[in-house]
Amino acid sequence: MKKLKLLYIIPNLLAFSTATILIGYFFSSEYYLKAIIVAVVPALILAIGFRIITYRRIQFIRKQLYQILETLEEFDVDEPKKVNFEESPFPILNDLNEYLVELIDRVRKNYRANKQFTQNASHELQTPLAVIKGHVEILLQSPRIGEKEIESLAIVLQNTNRLSKINSSLILLSKIEHQRFSDTMKVDFEKVAEEVLKNFKDLISIQEIKIEKKYDGKFEVEMSETLAEILVANLMQNAIRHNVEDGFIKVEVKEKEFSISNSGISPKVPMESLFKRFKRDSEVEESLGLGLSIVKRICEQSGLEISYTYENGNHEIIISIPR
């Protein structure tokens, strides 16, 4: 800061000395002029020299700051790589570096702990849930159990099932987030869609939903095949679940675009929030509100863009490659 202030003095100094010279020149007392030149010229040289030095220093500091910025830009919480900053002749920059290294360390530690916790929590929950479910199943077989008790057990079972569905969705989400899928290949979305439609055939026919297919081009993406299947299956499931009587589902594949649209009533929550965890259209009770956030996560992870629109009873989700 001090050095910067000095820098501000320089133009003032320059202006002041020029003014003095000019005054001396016009009011020409030779002695006076000489005295002024003797006084001003060294001052001027000093000022200019000083300015050049300061300029260089600032340039240097700036370069170093950019280096720090670059390092920070490349920084990834998830990578264990150690962040290194160049040693600087300026103590203040060294302080900054030190502080940053410390901060990054702390962030990483917290992040890791957090991630570990989510993973552990979901995994640790699995066994107790399975044990509860299993014992309810055993209780149900007991001949001494009456109708009233069965009713209670049904509720226990339903809620345990719900918990365990939420749990496995969360495990899936954390798996996607931590890139645990390695079956990356060129995925043809037409094939995936056909496969998913085949799996859902029964459900589609029982709800008497009409399927329209329009394959106008190839949509191929370099991504995990498993994730692509989960992605399309999730979208299809939504399209079936939120459909109406005599409804339709339209699957469209174009160059650089894949879309699923379906008939349905208008969503009760704002469109943007649909992709958030646990946000759901309350009309459909069994929905967990995790399906679309899984979809979104997969898109983010695979470099795809997703958009959702609703218009006149027509929901449409478009997956595309960003331009």
């Binding site: 995994h123 699995q126 066994t127 107790p128 849930l129 399975a130 044990v131 479910k133 299993g134 014992h135 199943e137 055993i138 149900l140 077989q141 069965i150 009713e151 057990l153 049904a154 509720i155 079972l157 339903q158 099932n161 365990s164 569905k165 496995s168 079956d183 799996n199 029964d202 459900l203 029982i206 709800q207 498993t226 989960i230 299956a233 499931q237 079936i240 679940r241 459909v284 009770e285 069994e286 929905s287």
Partner: protein
């Protein structure tokens, strides 16, 4: 029927033991790799249920050891590892089936029975109840001497319930049995309901109307005798 269960989660182990003891199996258990290894080498079992994540070793090595001995023992892997690669790996090592955790007990039971039927002849190829018989080799169902025309799903539901006869089978376990994990409850339950309705109608038309019972809010039960 002698069963070995290798599982380190005590609660889960107790649960599985309890379930299969009621089924009339002789059950033995191992809590860890070392015990499992010892039991496998010293005794004969008809079927082993093996968890892969054991505190002191990989359950897959147990499977490998068993198969290296050229045993005909049925092997079912249960594991929380649920990727396709894990499954393929498990089956390649020599397991007869692979079930991911968490699972339904009725599913575990049905799978063990299926393995045993394939392995031995003491399990018949036919399930017979009064005037109803299910031939598993030909996937043929006969009611009062008449062959029923069942869809694949109807047949699968009937067989699953019959394998778990006299026990309440939950809807979600049927859903999982038919479609695996990805299916959504709301939709699939409707589907099961519709299928059981059709199935029941077909059975009733041929004098077998009493077998399928609904347990409200929970699922169904195949009532034999």
């Amino acid at each position: 029927m002698k069963l070995l269960i290798v599982e380190d989660e005590q609660d889960l182990l107790d649960l599985i033991m309890r379930y299969f003891k009621r089924e009339g199996y002789l059950c033995e258990f191992a809590n860890n790799f070392k015990d499992g290894y010892k039991k496998i080498n010293n005794y004969e079992y008809d079927c082993a249920i093996i968890d892969l994540n054991l505190p002191d070793g990989d359950g897959l090595k147990l499977v490998d050891t068993l198969r290296a001995d050229n045993t005909q023992m049925g092997i079912l892997i249960v594991s929380a590892r649920d990727t396709v690669d894990d499954r393929i790996n498990g089956l390649d090592t020599g397991a007869d089936d692979y079930l991911t955790k968490p699972f339904n007990l009725s599913e575990l039971n049905a799978r063990v029975k299926a393995i045993m039927r394939r392995k031995t002849n003491q399990f018949s190829k036919e399930l017979n109840f009064k005037n109803l018989s299910i031939n598993m080799d030909q996937r043929k169902v006969t009611a009062s001497e008449k062959v029923l025309q069942l869809t694949k799903k109807e047949y699968n539901i009937l067989l699953y319930l019959a394998r778990n006869k006299n026990r309440v089978v939950t809807k979600d376990s049927i859903a999982e049995h038919l479609w695996g994990d990805y299916m959504d409850d709301a939709v699939s339950f409707d589907f099961i309901y519709a299928h059981v309705k059709n199935l029941r109608k077909k059975l009733a038309e041929n004098g077998c109307g009493d077998f399928l019972k609904t347990v409200y809010g929970i699922g169904y039960k195949f009532q034999a005798n």
